[in-house]
């Protein structure tokens, strides 16, 4: 038996570069980086080109082919965008709903006990106010939000995956906290559609409308479809969402007169008033543009950090080179922009920056990950690069 074991020989297996990239993506990545390139043949700080455009599928986009009609009546999409970056394409469509102002907070509270969302104006003491100010004020009252749903085409059906949920959550938080949308902007100026003495349709607004006591706001929904994933998606999803929002047009809303007199059940027992009985109707043609806060429009850049522990070591050809990490090794961290491919996607150390290109940041996320510490130099480098990128890309929105 012992003889048999001695006869066993270890054979070297040779992988072609493409095979090695599949089997051991991290080794391929280190090899590339030692050579001064990345697997995508970009330089370390080279960004990927991104094509940003409106998708032209919203209700108000006039189609050249359908010359008879000005609007596409079938869809409630009010803003759209399409982004292509390398092999990944993203389609973002925006739609909206209407919600009674006092109701939204209550319902969100029930759904999620989230600190941002609980609005309690009654017993606000000074201490709370201080905390509020640190957190950026009463967010839900000042900043509008978007409810994004991400769908990544993976060729499977089933419930949303972790990544899809995580991305949606992050996008929601980013839009809410960055204050991109002013909440006032989402308020609906409900008009009352009526017929005057001459039989012409008129729309009353403001003080003329005594019947409408309740206030309404738009709720903005976004659906982002991602096809062909090659790297971290947040940058692209954020870009497509902002582009679609900048294309968004909110319809005019009015109340139908004949139904404005319908009463709903109120009282403590029946707290859930069925507001469906209000016949809120959108004007099919008239709209206003959704205004975004220009200074809050950011560009998101995600960086990955690679540690190279043994840059000085020469590879001995043919031999299996076992890298032993000793304290004497010169550690070097390299910042990579716009991660792409599996190996780069696996990097655990990341810096994600949202910059408006004018020296302001709305969000900086640093993921510590595994490996050596992230140095200030790397963070500085990331911030600078994101500024440059933002300056370059924001005009394209």
């Amino acid at each position: 038996m012992s003889q048999n074991i001695e006869n066993v020989q270890l054979k070297g297996v040779i992988f072609s570069p493409s095979e090695l990239a599949l089997v051991a993506p991290d080794i391929t990545l280190t090899k590339y980086i030692k050579a001064g390139y990345r697997p995508s043949l970009r330089r370390f700080n080279e960004f990927k080109p991104m094509i940003i455009s409106t998708a032209g599928i919203s209700r108000y986009d006039i189609s050249l082919l359908n010359d008879g009609k000005k609007i596409n009546e079938l869809t409630t999409v009010i803003g759209s965008s399409s982004i292509k970056c390398g092999g990944t394409s993203t389609i973002c469509t925006i739609s909206a709903g209407l919600v009674e102002d006092n109701f939204e907070a209550v319902n969100d509270y029930r759904m999620r006990l989230d600190a941002d969302i609980i609005v309690n104006n009654d017993d606000k003491n000074e201490e709370n106010e201080e905390i509020d100010n640190i957190l950026g004020g009463n967010l839900i009252n000042k900043n509008g939000c978007v409810y994004p749903v991400i769908e990544i085409a993976k060729g499977t059906t089933g419930p949303p995956g972790d990544e899809e949920i995580g991305l949606g959550e992050k996008l929601y938080e980013t839009i809410l906290h960055s204050g991109l949308i002013n909440r006032e902007e989402l308020k609906v100026d409900v008009g009352l559609k009526s017929i005057d003495e001459n039989g012409n349709e008129i729309i009353l607004r403001g003080d003329d409308v005594g019947v409408i006591k309740k206030k309404f706001s738009f709720v903005i929904y976004a659906r982002i479809q991602v096809f062909g994933k090659t790297g971290p998606l947040f940058d692209q999803c954020y870009a497509s969402l902002v582009k679609a929002l900048s294309d968004t047009k909110l319809p005019e809303v009015y109340l139908n007169e004949r139904e404005s007199n319908l009463r709903t059940k109120s009282g403590k027992r029946n707290a859930n008033i069925n507001i469906q009985s209000y016949d809120l109707v959108c004007d099919s043609v008239k709209y206003r543009k959704l205004k975004l806060r220009k200074d809050r429009i950011c560009w998101s850049s995600t960086f990955g950090i690679v540690d190279l522990s043994s840059l000085n070591k020469e590879d001995n050809e043919g031999d299996i080179d076992i890298i032993t990490e000793t304290e004497e090794d010169i550690e070097q961290s390299i910042l990579l922009t716009d991660l792409e491919g599996e190996a780069e996607n696996n990097l655990s150390k990341r810096i994600s920056v949202l910059s408006n290109g004018e020296g302001f940041f709305t969000s900086i996320t640093i993921e510590k990950g595994n490996g050596s510490r992230i140095t200030t130099d790397i963070i500085k480098q990331a911030l600078e690069l994101s500024q440059v990128r933002a300056k370059d890309m924001i005009p394209k929105f």
Partner: protein, 284 residues
Amino acid sequence: MNTVDRRRRLGPSNAIPLSFPSVESNSDIENTSVSSFNEQKLFIQLSNIPTATGSSFLQLGNNLLLASVYGPRPSFKRTFNSKAVLKITFHSSPFLSSRQTESTFNNNNNNNNNNHLNSDIDPEYQIVNSVILSTLETACSNLILLDQYPKSSIDIFVNLINTDKSTKFIELLSLIHTAVNLALIDSGISVKNFPSSIVSSSSSSSSSSSSSSSQIFINSIHSDIYDNDDEKDLQNEELLTFYIPKSTNNNTNIKSTLKDSIDDAIKQSRALRSELSQFCYNKL
């Protein structure tokens, strides 16, 4: 009872979706756009999803469609499958107000209040998911050589991104089939022959009953047998699936016209096929 999706932020549950009253439609315009459906330019892009085995993007007017094929992938089911398992999913954008429950709003008719659901939507325009799925399943299982892929699964996804009011359901159906056909061709999965799908409207069948010409949808391939004579060769067409919408006027002579209209459809289908195969050939 509580069916709130807690995994994602879907917004407040009491939000009312936007409802737009329909604009007074000009029937003339609709008619002209319908008649020109088959003459509109079709934009095709293949292999636009790198992660899928095959994919196609189609645009015809306002209709935007994306079809993707994944597989054949190994399926680790306990039972042994001698054939590939085919799974087809059809998604349409949630923001496309469904034609079934479209609310209408009529100012002039004040008595007719509280009735948002318009029951008399033209059935020609109503999108029926079951028809889409059943025709797709029939067509694909007839088309793909499933025997060649034992113990595996093939997934086909169709995404309807946008459509408009002037596109009839049957026209949309043929677009969906074209998109799937092209995605299958693009994927390189073994198929019997080059498929093509078409909507053919045979005006001859119901010349008396004015405007409503009967339409027929077919998705077909050429069979293994070829004939030099073009007219005879029409018989060598293999139908993968077909769909005839329920017509409102009672056609007593449907049997006699069916053959004519299918022959007509096959002719058009072959014309389209030659163009599509030329397109795919050039892409190689």
